[in-house]
Subunit: 163 residues, 2 copies
């Protein structure tokens, strides 16, 4: 079962920083069939249910051209997650691992990433498959999947650096 | 050439929101060979140069177990990017596309994502290949690559939903 707010045996919480270093704006909202975190899939699946990504103004114009991509990377804000655990026990069995070796929603910056299949676009709304988040999750960013995208900008010196 | 701060022909800037919706903490810093954005590769390559990811306290304990993964997803804050363009012209040729159909660093929430090869870990420092960002870029998050990671948490109802 996903965590609601508890700290489990052998988990370690730290004092959260007193201030933030940067700010995010929510550019849309994600609509899924899951009304609580206890129902969500642990990871999205490509044959999962249709979900809806609704963009807010003034960001709708930024969707122009997205229809060219079958797969899109989605970044979203896991707004119900605590942020102070550095060691976690997903199985609640006393075995704990570092947060950065887990894809748990509980992290210092609770950002989820998924690669989803784009089914359709209608105006400010994308329908997709492959998400795993609770209904009402705030949207942070959309990008073409890196494997399908070729940069349009002119070449730069670093493009050729190996080592 | 990457943008420094200009708005190019046919690009569209919007009024940025008056306030932020969520805050980020920088959990580390990324060291790369690239001293300016004009030198960076447009996308990371797996045979690219070694880069270093240095974690800050109190987050070092969160690295525990990361050595088990050959590939790690890295989220970083593109701190030199403007955030107000909804249409961009990467080639500066007058052809503009929506920001969400580009992987440009210029976006409402300038978060870069990369999947890198983990070469080694020594204490708070990871050495990796596959990054594309400028030296000094703030680190936001690390996760095991989704293709290599199997959730440890107990099954949830959404795991079985298709549609």
């Amino acid at each position: 079962m996903v965590r609601l707010n508890e700290v489990r045996r052998n988990e370690v919480a730290v004092e959260p920083p007193a201030s933030f270093d940067a700010g995010l704006v929510f550019v849309g909202i994600i609509r899924t069939p899951w009304r609580s975190r206890l129902e969500c899939p642990r990871q999205g699946r490509r044959d999962g249910p249709i979900c809806r990504i609704e963009l807010y103004e003034p960001w709708v114009a930024a969707l122009d051209g997205i229809d060219a991509f079958k797969e899109i990377e989605v970044l979203y804000w896991l707004h119900e997650s605590r942020r102070d655990l550095v060691r976690q026990s997903p199985s609640s069995d006393g075995a704990a691992r570092g947060t950065f070796s887990l894809r748990s929603p509980v992290r210092p910056n609770p950002i989820g990433t998924a690669v989803v299949s784009l089914v359709a676009r209608q105006g400010p709304i994308l329908t997709v498959r492959g998400l795993d988040c609770v209904d009402g999750t705030p949207l942070i960013d959309l990008k073409p999947d890196r494997c399908l995208f070729t940069p349009l900008a002119p070449l730069q010196p670093g493009d050729f650096e190996t080592g």
